[in-house]
């Protein structure tokens, strides 16, 4: 039984010591809580205090430096001395007396003017009232006569006062003017001094900005949160728009201020600030930092939290080049951006390496298959070569884009036999229709030599290499976009080569290999040359039988399906197969749980490491149970980095359109057109968007290389460009190079025209030139200007049938073409300054500095006259043009 009852000792017991202990602890903890709340959890306060000190010190230093410079400057000293003298002279003597009188007069005049002014104002006010009474009386049908009289009276009064007021004003102005004159010496000096001290006084302002002045005391500014809120920038996981709150600049206070480039973080200036943080780009006071750099923008408790490098925060700070992955969130056309080179490179690799053959990704759905069609493969390649190629393409051509599937030989034979069987019918039919010309003699020395010359002169090298290491167009760091033909003889025979060269599209309608419009004998010489590059290896006698084996064919088909060969190649019967790889649209948002690391223990568990190693060694995460089929692309580390940055940007993130950069139709056209341009490798020969023209390295004289096409959209007329793409004509007949016929469809040609127009920001693609409005004096003047006496245009430019008079390497395009080809506005720009339009052009600059005696010596007029003349040249003659 429990002890119950009254315990006296308990009542008398003192708990004083326990109470004291509890109270003391409570006080201590309260103080700790205060400290924790204000200092431990608000490190930004320290940062700001530190920054203001730094800012103030810098300004002070700069001020003192400037001040020292000023003091040493004799001009400044002189001015200061003069000012002191001037001031002294005003303080005593005649002038001072005069000034005193003037000031007194000024006060008097001021009073007089103010009095009169007020009187007039009152009269005006009374007039308003009288008019109201008058209107009111009329509207009510009462007699308005008394009000009319009142109005008349007031107007009389006002008329009497007005001249007086004007006189008073003039008197006052006159006195003021005189005072100003007396003071003008000082004023003058002060302005001159202010000009000299502007640089120094700027720093006074800077010091004031870092401090708070309350009367006589001044202290550093009180720290406060600097916050940018982007309404509806994000969408939460329930697809509701939410604001993004960004407080990064609470610590990074100098992010948009010059002069802090070498300070330690968080006070460093943003790199390329002038461009990236400009008002028309990403002004940090409006868009903040986190939209590009991610991190936990709203957090300020510690650098680690603010940077989001904590568990559960899904978007940690994008460090280093990875920030480029953010560009794609708002910019549709990222290849144009100068500050996202890795992202652009990643995109090029992704589009052209064939990634999209197996992986679906939003925005890349329509990238065409990158490999050749295998519909007639039997008619093209040597079977032994084919087996070797399938087994490991990198051993045949180390830089090829075709990845290595790490197949065993029997697997390669099986795939080859499947491909052999499906191309039997069409391949043999094509071969029957395309016999080798009887006159072809393999190994004929003169044919071979001629062929070599032709290959080297007509532009084959813009795309193909013909020797070890010879490459013009590189994808990524070292991939060959187009096959190197140094061993082509091992792969194909003369019959196929001859007909392929003559018309690639007859063999493969979708091929991007263009026709160079080779005549029969030209094709024959090139074929003869190519056949000297490598010989087919001796075929194993059993191969033919293996290729016919039905078991092999069946096995080959299942292997082709397993490895998804149809992702890159057109294979009959597999046109509708879907991509075998995982969709990558939101790959960048994948969590670590979603990434399969297999049994690897040597790879750090991060997204970056997973992706890097996957691209480096695609089957690295395979386990004895989990097979992986992604092939080996043999990418360099740089390529992998670029791809990783692209992939990091494939995020579940929808930035609202009002925050996004240009998404107009034009931007879409540029992106699509550029993709097409890359597909046909225009940059192999031409420089476009300051990139490409790779064939140029084979030419010492740039005049003999294909022309750069920077600004082509602005230069040529859209209609002409369309026609030219469909059916090229020689513009520079002195070049041995040939613009190939690509066989663009109308849609493709239109897309390319829109691409060039989009790049040049051409708003209105068609312009009409009304030759009837060309004054005759223009034509006369221009005829003199183009003559030998002045610019001597036709020493370089061809004119119709008339060849230029100078040496061929100086020749320039036919001016008769200008009418249809060139944009009239562009011609003017070109004549004004050719070097500005196309740096490095051999076209001389004639302006400014045209002859004085033509069209009044005015450059503008002369240029316009020349333009009009050039545009008229293509016509039958001015008379014919006028009569039309």
């Amino acid at each position: 039984m429990a002890v119950r009852g009254f315990d006296e000792a308990e009542e008398k017991k003192s708990y004083g010591s326990v109470f004291l202990l509890g109270s003391v602890l409570l006080v201590v903890l309260t103080l700790w809580a205060f400290w924790d709340d204000n200092f431990t959890r608000r490190p930004w306060k320290q940062f700001q205090a530190e920054f203001y000190r730094l800012d103030y010190r810098k300004a002070e230093q700069a001020y003192e430096e400037e001040d020292k410079k000023l003091r040493a400057d004799p001009a400044y000293q002189e001015l200061v001395k003069k000012l002191a003298e001037e001031r002294a002279s005003l303080r005593g003597g005649e002038l001072a007396k005069k000034l005193k009188v003037l000031r007194r007069d000024e006060t008097k005049a001021d009073v007089r003017f103010t009095e009169l002014d007020q009187e007039v104002k009152f009269i005006k006010s009374e007039l308003e009232e009288a008019w109201y009474e008058y209107d009111h009386a009329v509207q009510q049908g009462r007699g308005a006569k008394p009000y009319e009289d009142r109005i008349r009276e007031l107007e009389r009064e006002k008329a009497g006062l007005d001249p007086q007021l004007e006189k008073a004003r003039q008197e006052r102005e006159q006195i003021k003017e005189e005072i100003k004159k007396v003071n003008s010496g000082i004023k003058d000096l002060e302005t001159q001094i202010a000009k000299l001290t502007a640089e120094r006084d700027k720093w006074v302002k800077a010091m004031e900005n870092a401090t708070l002045n309350a009367g006589p005391i001044s202290f550093y500014k009180i720290p406060k949160i600097h916050q940018v809120v982007l309404e509806e920038f994000d969408r939460n996981n329930f697809d509701q728009p939410v604001a993004r709150v960004d407080r990064c600049q609470t610590c990074h206070m100098a992010i948009n201020r010059a002069g802090f480039e070498n300070e330690p973080q968080p006070f460093r200036t943003h790199p390329r600030r002038e461009v990236l943080l400009a008002d028309n780009a990403h002004p940090p006071d409006k868009v903040g930092c986190a939209p590009c750099h991610e991190g936990q923008g709203a957090a300020v408790n510690s650098a680690r939290q603010a940077h989001g490098e904590i568990p559960y925060w899904e978007h940690p700070l994008l460090r280093g080049a990875k920030v480029q992955s953010s560009c794609a969130s708002c910019h549709l056309d990222v290849q144009r951006l100068e500050d996202a080179p890795l992202l652009a490179e990643g995109q090029r690799i992704f589009e052209q390496m064939g990634c999209t053959g197996c992986h679906l990704a939003q925005g890349y759905e329509d990238v065409p298959k990158v490999g050749p069609s295998l519909r007639r493969i039997r008619a093209k390649v040597d079977p032994g070569w084919m087996v070797r190629w399938i087994q490991n393409p990198h051993s045949v051509r180390p830089r090829t884009r075709m990845p290595n599937f790490s197949l065993k030989e029997d697997e390669a034979v099986a795939i080859a036999s499947f491909l052999w069987s499906i191309s039997k019918e069409e391949g043999e039919k094509w071969l029957q229709e395309q016999p080798l010309p009887a006159s072809f003699r393999e190994g004929d020395k003169s044919l071979v030599a001629k062929g070599k010359d032709l290959v080297e002169s007509i532009g084959c090298k813009g795309c193909h290499g013909f020797a070890e290491g010879e490459v013009s167009t590189v994808l990524g760091k070292e991939k060959e976009l187009i096959p190197n033909l140094k061993n082509i003889g091992e792969k194909v025979g003369p019959r196929w080569t001859y007909h392929w060269l003559k018309n690639p599209r007859s063999f493969s309608p979708e091929t991007r290999m263009p026709s160079l419009r080779l005549a029969d004998d030209e094709a024959m010489t090139v074929t003869a040359y190519l056949m000297t590059l490598g010989k087919p290896a001796d075929e194993k006698p059993s191969l033919e039988k293996q290729l016919q084996d039905a078991k092999n064919i069946k096995r080959g088909e299942s292997l082709v399906r397993k490895y998804g060969c149809f992702g890159c190649h057109d294979i009959p019967g597999m046109e509708k197969e879907s991509r075998i790889g995982v969709e990558l649209t939101t790959f960048g948002s994948k969590t670590l749980e979603e990434l399969f690391f297999g049994n690897r223990t040597d790879i750090p568990i991060t997204w970056d490491d997973w992706t890097t190693n996957k691209l480096k060694e695609p089957r690295i995460y395979a386990t004895p149970r989990v097979e992986q089929v992604m092939p080996h692309f043999n990418l360099t580390d740089d390529d992998i980095k670029a791809l990783r940055i692209l992939l990091a940007g494939f995020r579940e993130r929808k930035v609202p359109s009002r925050y996004r950069a240009d998404q107009s139709q034009r931007a879409v056209q540029v992106v699509e057109g550029r993709r097409l341009m890359h597909q046909y490798n225009c940059i192999g020969c031409h420089e476009i968007e300051k990139r490409g023209g790779f064939i140029g390295k084979y030419y010492e004289n740039p005049a003999l290389a294909p022309p750069p096409l920077n600004g082509e959209g602005e230069k040529v007329q859209s209609g002409w460009l369309f026609g030219f793409l469909k059916r090229p004509i020689p513009i520079r007949p002195w070049l041995n190079l040939r613009m190939p016929t690509f066989g663009f469809t109308d849609e493709e040609a239109n897309r390319l025209v829109a691409y060039f127009n989009g790049l040049s920001k051409v708003e209105i693609p068609y312009a009409y030139f009304d030759e009837r409005k060309v004054p005759k004096e223009h034509l006369d003047a221009a005829r003199i200007l183009v003559s030998k006496d002045f610019f001597n245009c036709f020493s370089c430019h061809q004119q119709g049938e008339r060849k230029p008079e100078g040496p061929p390497e100086g020749w320039a395009p036919d001016l008769n073409l200008a009418k249809d080809r060139l944009n009239p506005e562009w011609i003017i720009k070109w004549l004004q300054d050719p070097q500005k339009v196309q740096p490095g052009t051999k076209m001389p600059s004639f302006y400014p500095g045209g002859p004085d005696n033509i069209l009044g010596g005015k450059d503008d007029k002369q240029i316009e006259a020349l333009r009009n003349y050039i545009v008229m040249l293509g016509r039958k003659g001015p008379a014919a043009a006028a009569s039309r």
Binding site: A2, R4, G5, E10, G22, S23, L26, D36, N237, E314
Partner: protein
């Protein structure tokens, strides 16, 4: 009830009241101070555990109920939802409501005693602490991704695979036919109740004596016995599952136990 009053009157009269002040208030005040100290210290040292933002397209693994429901969630491992989620919780509530009716021991009113209420307290202790609270602890700390069991020092591997080899008890006993399996299960369940009711009777008889049973009455005995035996069926089933991979004891077209 008359008996209780009589008993009370017989006990010696003692002064069993003390003043609120200072006995209670000052101690409460001191306790208040120390509780505040602990809370302040805790809030200073430990931040609120936040995880990633909720995402309807990504179910968290493991998906856990609020901690106070984790006992229930743990029971779902061993029984059908209707049984673990409806029948057993209802019986718990009904059983708690029954306590004033079935408990005829007047000892311990107004004071603390263990000796005088050994079986009452031990039964409650077993039901509440051993079954309910310990299952909450298991559910909170020992259940990881995939609702698999993890020791506290083990990494919660979301890809952990545990072989699924559970079978029904009749299958273990060799029944393959559906009908006879059902019959077998029914027999086992009924058998369990019959046997344990009898055992419960014998046990009460031994520890409390015949007098007590007579005072207790048939109805009270049966209710208590049923509740007690049902309560014990939970650890019994857990044992069958964990030791012998038994999925269900009794499988019928309408319910499984």
């Amino acid at each position: 009830m008359a008996g209780i009053a009589q008993e009370k009157r017989k006990s010696p009269v003692v002064d069993d009241k003390v003043h609120t002040w200072p006995h209670l208030v000052r101690v409460e005040f001191l306790v208040g101070i120390f509780v505040m100290l602990v809370l302040i210290l805790w809030s200073l040292l430990v931040d609120a555990p936040l995880e990633e933002p909720a995402n309807p397209t990504r179910t968290p693994n493991p998906s856990k109920a609020p901690w106070y429901f984790l006992g229930l969630q743990e029971m779902l491992v061993y029984f059908d939802p209707w049984h673990a989620g409806v029948v057993l919780p209802s019986l718990i509530i009904v059983g708690l409501m029954m306590i004033p009716f079935i408990d005829i021991n007047p000892k311990g009113n107004g004071y603390y005693t263990f000796k005088e209420r050994k079986y009452e307290i031990l039964t409650f202790f077993f039901g509440f602490h051993v079954l309910w609270v310990s299952m909450i602890i298991i559910g909170t700390f020992f259940r990881g991704p995939g609702w698999n069991l993890f020791w506290p020092w083990q990494h919660w591997d979301p890809h952990k695979v545990v072989a699924l080899t559970n079978v029904d008890l009749p299958y273990v006993l060799g029944f393959r036919d559906y009908f006879w399996s059902s019959v077998c299960g029914g027999v086992v369940v009924f058998g369990y109740f019959v046997v344990s009711l009898a055992a419960f009777y014998l046990w009460i008889l031994r520890v409390k004596g015949k007098d007590f049973l007579e005072r207790w009455g048939m109805v009270r005995f049966l209710i208590t016995a049923l509740l007690f035996v049902t309560m014990l069926s939970l650890p019994a089933k857990m044992f069958l599952r964990l030791a012998f991979n038994v999925k269900y004891v009794w499988v019928t077209p309408w319910f499984n136990i």
